[in-house]
Amino acid sequence: MGGGGNIGEESDNPVEINVTAMVDVIFCLCIFFMCSFHFKQLEGRIDTWLPKDRGVFQGQPEKVILEEIRVFMKWDVAGNRTIRKVGNRGEVNSDEDLMNIIIQMTNDYKKAGKSEFPVLIDATPDVPWQEVIHVMDLCKKEKLERIEFAAPFEMMNKGGSKN
């Protein structure tokens, strides 16, 4: 007995407490919190702005001299991919080509003395959200901060301007 026993043994502690019930409860609590626990994903945001005057715009539209930077996105069911176009140009296949066209257009705006040149994303409702975010991400990387979304067809028909 002497020296060989553990702390908490009968020999050391004359007042014996039954810890089994407590251990059971702690086990249950532990399992409960372990099951309900989830690790937080590192999240962030991408700022976008909706037009302030949608639906109430009464004035004359601004005379457009430069071509609007509008990225069309359409889902191709047969090809299972997204078709991207800028303005009335042909299909753009790579991200590089897409950004080259957009940068070229922004340079035209800069040359004309314009400081604001929003990139308008005009996608059909069946395009994957990831693809839309990807285009936004590419624009943000090129420091194009003003990204806008085109209003859907039904809203434009109900009155009010797109921008």
Partner: protein, 183 residues
């Protein structure tokens, strides 16, 4: 033989439970502190990846004027066209009935219901800009799943625009390879 058997019966094995209880207490404390018991504003959403996203710092004062709209695939629906596809691609579930638009755990999939709620929330911060008294200063974050069709996010954005909310941001997650680069 019988004496040895008797000796075996009388020996009491007392395992020392104290270190185990200590560890379990620590584990319990860790999980209790890490558990999110509040009303969950953020649903479990597989956010689209974007390396240009700005990290969201938690700021409760700032968050007072912020609302989060979650667009997520219904947990109870098992859908073969939802989830990760081959390689880095994602599958897209285009069944409207499989998706839910929620705010603070409540279902606002119906545009009228969402519009009514957003209008009510936006009214509190409306009229701060004298030039545009109809617009609201409420900030809305749209956390749509990467597999969601754009139409659902577009619907949420439209409803915001109709309610006079123009400060809209979209939720995104940092890609895994970016995390490695940043160390």
């Amino acid at each position: 033989m019988s004496r040895r058997h008797k000796a075996k019966e009388t020996t009491h094995q007392n395992p020392n439970l104290i270190p185990m209880i200590d560890i379990m207490f620590l584990l319990l404390l860790f999980f209790m502190l890490g558990a999110d018991m509040g009303q969950r504003e953020l649903e479990e959403v597989m956010l689209p990846k974007a390396s240009s996203m700005k990290e969201d710092k938690e700021n409760k004062e700032k968050d007072k004027n912020k609302l989060t709209i979650n667009v997520y695939h219904r947990y109870e629906v098992k859908c073969p066209s939802y989830g990760d596809g081959p390689g880095n691609s994602v599958k897209v579930c285009r069944d409207d009935a499989h998706w839910r638009t929620g705010i603070k755990g409540k279902d606002y999939s119906e545009p009228e219901k969402l519009g009514g709620y957003l209008k009510k929330e936006a009214d509190a911060t409306r009229g701060q800009d004298p030039k545009n008294p109809q617009v609201s200063e409420l900030k809305v974050q749209i956390r749509a799943d990467q597999s969601a069709p754009y139409g659902l996010a577009q619907r949420a954005m439209n409803t915001c625009a109709k309610a006079g909310i123009y400060k809209v941001e979209v939720g995104a997650a940092r890609p895994a390879d970016d995390k490695k680069k940043k160390g």
